[in-house]
Amino acid sequence: MKSFLRAMCGGALILSLSLSARAEEVAAPKGEVLLTLSGSLEQTNVDGTLQLDQAMLEALPQTEFTTSTTWTSGTPTFKGVLLKDLIAAVGAKGGTVTLQAVNDYAVTMPLADVGPEAPLLAFLMDGETMSLRDKGPIWMVYPYDSNEKFRTEETYSRSIWQLTQIIFAD
């Protein structure tokens, strides 16, 4: 039943997101807000921001990969939404994107650096949602093992965890 509802909501988001030609109020999130998007957006729902709960995230195209990280032991499987899919869905424009974490850590990167396969805004690690202690609610990760280009200082510094805010700037 719950999954059915989630599917319905996802369907609504997609429906609303598909009308991206004009700024429009998207339905407010029903569950706990995991991520708040602000700045230069086409889609918003609460006070000019777009707040997304897990159901809304799950309604977007899902991507997952398994990789080791320098911060964890083993090779966890991360699942979530690619940043580029999110950007496409919310109609974000502009030159840079700033990501902010609970611990006040922040990363600013040009939108041009957003690749087709990474970064991934993961909200599931090994199928589980992530608590604050587990670098939740959202951890932006790269498939470090798949390519050397993801094992650079820059990539590591952009791998922001305990992510809650994304601000798009012109």
């Binding site: 320098t70 202690r133 587990d134």
Partner: protein, 843 residues
Amino acid sequence: MAGQSQAFAGMARAVRAVLVVVVLLSLGLLILLGLRIGESLSELRSEANDNLHWNLSQLEVDLVRLGEEMRVNAIQKDGSLKELRKRYDLFYSRAQNAVGGKGYSAPGLRELPQTFAALLGAYLARETPLIDGPDATLRENLPAMVDRLGTLRDSLRKVSIEMVDALAEVGDEKREALSGLIRQMTLATGATIFLLAALLAVVAWLNKVAAREQRLSDQVSRRLAATIDSALDAIIVSDDEGRIIQYSPSAERTFGYSRAEALGRDLATLIIPASLREAHAAGMARMRQTGKFKMVNNGRIQLSALHRSGREFPVELAISSAEGDQGRIMIAFLRDISDRLAAETELTSTRDKALAAGRAKTEFIAVMSHEMRTPLNGVIASLELASGMATDPELRRFIGLAQDSAQLLLRHANDVLDVTRLESGGLQLTTEDFDIEAHLSGLVETFRPICDEKRISLRYAMTGERPMLQGDPFRLGQIVRNFLSNAIKFTNIGGVTVEAEVSEQRGSSRVIEIRVTDTGPGIPYADQSRIFEDFVMLDPSFGRTGEGAGLGLSICRRLAVAMGGEIGVESTPGEGSCFWLRIPFALGRKSPTAPVTEDRAPMAAMDVLVVEDNATNRAVLGELLRRLGQQVTFAFDGEKGAAAAAAHRYDVILMDVSMPVMDGLTATRLIRKSGASKNSRIVAVTAHSMPEDLERIRASGMDDILTKPISSGNLIRVLSGTALLMAKPADGLLDDDRIAELRLALGADGLERLAVKFLGDGGDLIARLSREETLASEALSALCHEAAGLASVLGAAKLRSLCAKAEDLCRSGRAEEARHMLRHDLEPLWKETALTVKSLLQA
């Protein structure tokens, strides 16, 4: 110069090869170093060195903020604990990185990360239940938690400082290693640049050398082309099929074809006469097959060549072959030698004419000398007669002078005759066995009286082998006599030494060397080479004394050459001279140890008078006669001889024909007139055995003639007819007297010719007679007549009488008897006779 530069170039090429290898090696080294630096850099890039510092500081930040929150909440007893719990979660999350992540581990940190993680793990395990527990319990424990957090912070700080230190150390090492690599890289790069520069220099130099060599080679090619173009000889180069591939301008002139016409054509059809083409084709085929060519590299040859006009002309040709680009090529150098051949022909004919003229002159001189002797003999005889009749002493003196002059003139004529005979090859050398040692010692002894007279010594020695030789001992003696008489003539103090030895053994022949050394005045060096020439007299006073015409030594030289030997002189002016001769002789048949007379019938000792004016001949005859066991008395001229013969009865008188004062003929007539030796056997001794001499000698009343050269053999024969008959009874095959007569009349060679003709003609006749059954009796009779005539020529009595008898039988109609007799007796008798004649020839 070229060789040196080539050696340098060779060296440079070796250096270049070495440099290339070294440069490649250093490039390899560079690549290796580059890879290692790349590795090192990528290691540095992917490393989380800075991570540790970041992580430590972030952990510190989270820990401090958690501590602040704890202290705030410890004071505000009613505050919300939500923020504290969030701070704890954030710290927890950060601490998890140290426990499970790699952010705290780096090479060289040893067990420090584990210690660090353990501290954190222990802390989290203790506090997490309190944080997650009820608010009241949490508040209650907060003061203690603040203390514990402080303790953790100090412990962590210690470990983290250690980690940072260790990391710095590792970083230093790595940086050191990298800077080492970069240093090596720099060095290797420098070395490579240097090597490349060196390589460039070598290559540049080699290029220069190659350019120079190319220039030189071009120069040589141009020069060669110029040489070929300007060569006087025609130069034609062909391939091994005979096709012309090069053709010089001179060849254009020689053969008449232009270069354009000749190139590519076949040699054979172009310049080789039709008569030689076949040989040429065969030669080319052989060369292609075997790689050898008879004419190639074989010096110059003469051939005919064909001119464009069809004219054949003589060429001199040299061919060499070489390996060209398209296989073997032949290079022919040809020269038209028509002019040269014409000049040669001209020269030859001129020379022949000159030689003919020379021969004619020689013949003229020979004839003149010969013709002079007859009237000269008349003069001498007349002078002798006049001398006998003259009573006035003054007149006698003048006659004596005239006689001396006439004798001298005769000797000159004889010398000239000797020379011309030797020149024209008319000299006949006899071949007889002789004992060289005995011959020489006898000869030398004849000079002892003169030496004694001059009070000089005369020594003779033959060392080593003393072989029996075959040759002309008289002519050998003539040379030695000439040497000796010259030596004695010129030696007034000291003496003369004659040494003989076998100087060389060549199988069955021996070279005899005889040296006559004197202590005379010697011969000036300048004259030594010409004293063997004609008419050379070194001492004018010697010539004036009338002893010769300066022909003696030149006759010696000619005699030595005629005998296949050589003569010469070594002389030191003031010390003396040594005249030498070397003449090869065949070994004789008889052993020299066997006495000469042993195989003959013993000869009765006789009283022999030798009338001879010449001391040498006197000595030779004396020696030979003594050896034969004869009693010898000497007389020095005809008058003295006649006187001696009148006073004592001699068994045999050996009379020289031509002597001063009174010649042998006159003396013989005197002896025959009256005196003790009136009926003695008188033998003429003469070198001149002309038929007219023979007549005069017989007419004077002499019994026999002893011809010079005198050998013991013919001496025995003339000494006594009975001795000869006893030794060798007449067998009727040949008449010895007739043979001796013929020899006197014709000379030895004339007799030989006659004997050869006899054998030839006789052989024919006998062969025809042996086929008598095919002949009519008249023809048989005529043949028998001819054969009888032939047989009588050599005094073959038996053969003559057989043939004569057969002829008689034929004539009287008894041809059958004649045929029978011929069948039976003719063949064996002819064989026997022919054998005797042949032995005569061999003697």
